[in-house]
C-alpha cells in the first residue's frame, strides 16, 4: 500500500474498508484510489458494487472501518470535528435521489447553504444564487419546489447546490440516472462545462459505460472500474477497453456469459 501523499492528489483513499452493520462481506474492501487536481475520474461498475458507498466515504459522510481518506493531504479520521468541517467545506456532492430539500423552493435550496456556511449578506447570497441558477439554466424557476420540477431540472438544481459554495472537489452520484439520452447528454455537458470553468476535481459514479467512454476519449478523463469493493482497473478509455481482466472484459463488451453473470447466478 502506497502511504505517500502526492501534492497533486486532492482526494486519496488508502486501504479503506467499509461494511454496513454486521454484514459479513464488506461493501468496500481495502480500496486505494486517488483523484488528482482538476481531473475528471469516472467510477464505473455494476449496480450494488459500492459506488455510492465509496463516494459517501470520500465525502466524509461515512467513516471507513479501516484505512483513511485524505483531502488535500489531511487525514479525515485524524482531524478534530472543527478541522474536519473546514476541510470538508472544500468537497461537495450531488446525490442519486437528488437530496434536494423538498420543503424549500429552488432559490431557498441555494440560499440555505450560503446562509448557514458563509458570512454573505442576503443581497450577496441572492446574487451568488442567481448566478449559479443562470449557469445551470434554471432562471425563472426560483419559486418552484423540487417536486414540481422534471428529473433533469432536479439534477441541474442538485448540481447548482453542489457548486454554490465553490468547492474544489465535486462528487456526482449517478447524475444521469433515470434521464432520457438527450437530458443525460445535457447534464454531462453541464458537469464538464462547470469542471472547465472552475477547474474542480470531479468524480462521477455511473453505470453507463458509453457515457464514461465518450467523455474519457474527448477529455482524457480516467475511468476506474469498481467491483466487489475494489478497483479492478483504472486508466484511459482505451486501457479499459483493452483490459485483460475477465470481469472488466465482460462488462465493457456487455457479454452475457462471464465471471459477472456467474457471480450473480451464484
Amino acid at each position: 500500500m502506497d502511504t505517500s501523499i502526492n501534492e497533486n492528489e486532492v482526494v486519496k483513499a488508502q486501504g479503506i474498508t467499509f461494511r454496513y452493520g454486521d454484514a459479513p462481506q464488506p461493501v468496500i474492501d481495502l480500496l486505494d484510489l486517488s483523484l488528482k487536481r482538476s481531473e475528471v475520474l469516472f467510477l464505473i461498475g455494476l449496480s450494488g458494487m459500492g459506488k455510492t458507498t465509496l463516494l459517501k466515504i470520500l465525502a466524509g459522510l461515512y467513516s471507513p472501518q479501516t484505512g483513511d481518506v485524505f483531502i488535500q493531504g489531511a487525514p479525515l479520521a485524524m482531524l478534530n470535528s472543527k478541522d474536519r468541517r473546514m476541510i470538508l467545506r472544500r468537497v461537495s456532492m450531488t446525490f442519486q435521489r437528488s437530496g434536494l430539500f423538498d420543503s424549500l423552493t429552488v432559490l431557498e435550496n441555494l440560499l440555505f447553504p450560503l446562509k448557514e456556511l458563509t458570512l454573505f449578506s442576503p443581497e450577496q447570497s441572492l446574487k451568488v444564487a442567481q448566478k449559479i441558477l443562470s449557469q445551470v439554466e434554471l432562471r425563472g424557476s426560483e419559486s418552484k419546489f423540487p417536486f414540481e420540477m422534471s428529473g433533469g431540472m432536479q439534477k441541474r438544481l442538485g448540481i447548482a447546490r453542489a457548486l454554490v459554495l465553490e468547492p474544489e472537489v465535486v462528487f456526482y452520484d449517478d447524475p444521469t440516472a433515470g434521464l432520457d439520452p438527450i437530458t443525460s447528454k445535457h447534464i454531462v455537458e453541464l458537469i464538464l462545462k462547470v469542471h472547465k470553468e472552475k477547474e474542480t476535481a470531479t468524480l462521477i459514479a455511473t453505470s453507463e459505460l458509453d457515457l464514461a467512454l465518450g467523455v474519457s476519449r474527448k477529455n482524457l478523463a480516467r475511468i476506474a472500474f469498481l467491483h466487489e469493493g475494489r478497483i479492478l482497473q483504472i486508466g484511459t478509455a482505451e486501457e479499459i477497453l483493452d483490459s485483460n481482466n475477465p470481469v472488466v472484459f465482460q462488462f465493457v463488451r456487455g457479454l452475457l456469459k462471464g465471471p459477472l453473470t456467474r457471480l450473480e447466478s451464484e
Binding site: K56, L100, F101, E116, R161
Partner: protein
C-alpha cells in the same frame, strides 16, 4: 408550532370534551352505588383529569398526530438523501431538525393539556348541571377547592416531559429508519407505539415520584 400544536386542537378538544362527559357519568353511577350520594363527583373528576387523564390523553393524541409525522418526515429525508445533504453542509441534525420540534412539542403539549382540561371541565360542568342537579358555580367551587396549585404544576411537568418524549423518540425512529417507503411507514408506526408506551410508563414513574415527595 402551527403544525405541531394548532392543527391538533380539534381532535384533542373533541376527545377530551367527551372524556369529561364520560367521567361524570361513570363517577356518578359508581358513587351513587357505593356511597349513595354524588356530591364529590366534580371534585374527583377534576382531580383525575388534572393529575392523570389531561396530560396523558392529550399527549397520546399528540403522539398519534405529530409523533408519526416527525418520524415519517425525517425518515423520508433519510430515504431521499436530504440528511446526507445536510451532513455535507456540516449542519447538526439535532440543532436543525430536533430542537425546533422539541420546543414546539413541549409548548404544544403544555398549552393543549391546560386547554383540553378546561374543555373537559366545562363539559363536565354542563353534564353535572343536567344530570346531577349541581349548579355551574357549585361545580366550579368544588373543583377549585379540591384541585391544588401543586396538582397544576405536576400536570404541567408531566405534559412537558411527555412533550419531550414525543419528538425525541419520533426523530430517533426517523434517523434509524431503513431504506424505501415501507421503512418510512414502519418508522412512523414504531414512533407512535414506542412513544405511547413511554408516555404511559413515564406517567406511572412520575405519579409514583409525586406521591413519594
Amino acid at each position: 408550532m402551527y403544525l405541531l400544536g394548532v392543527q391538533s386542537v380539534p381532535i384533542i378538544f373533541v376527545s377530551l370534551g367527551f372524556v369529561g362527559l364520560m367521567m361524570i357519568l361513570e363517577l356518578a353511577f359508581h358513587m351513587r352505588l357505593v356511597l349513595k350520594h354524588d356530591a364529590l363527583v366534580p371534585a374527583f373528576s377534576a382531580v383525575l383529569m388534572v393529575r392523570e387523564l389531561g396530560p396523558v390523553i392529550t399527549c397520546l393524541l399528540l403522539t398519534s398526530r405529530i409523533g408519526a409525522g416527525i418520524a415519517a418526515e425525517i425518515g423520508s429525508m433519510k430515504v431521499t438523501e436530504q440528511l446526507d445533504a445536510l451532513k455535507m453542509l456540516s449542519i447538526d441534525f439535532i440543532d436543525y431538525l430536533v430542537i425546533p420540534r422539541w420546543i414546539g412539542a413541549v409548548f404544544s403539549a403544555c398549552t393543549l393539556t391546560v386547554l383540553s382540561i378546561a374543555v373537559a371541565l366545562f363539559g363536565g360542568a354542563f353534564l353535572a348541571t343536567q344530570k346531577l342537579g349541581t349548579s355551574p358555580g357549585e361545580y366550579l367551587n368544588t373543583v377549585f377547592f379540591f384541585v391544588k396549585f401543586s396538582d397544576v404544576v405536576r400536570c404541567l411537568i408531566k405534559a412537558a416531559i411527555f412533550g419531550t418524549l414525543i419528538p425525541f423518540i419520533a426523530a430517533y425512529q426517523g434517523f434509524t429508519c431503513g431504506t424505501g417507503s415501507a421503512a418510512v411507514g414502519e418508522a412512523a408506526t414504531q414512533a407512535v407505539v414506542r412513544t405511547s408506551l413511554s408516555i404511559i410508563i413515564a406517567d406511572f414513574i412520575l405519579t409514583y415520584l409525586f406521591y413519594a415527595i
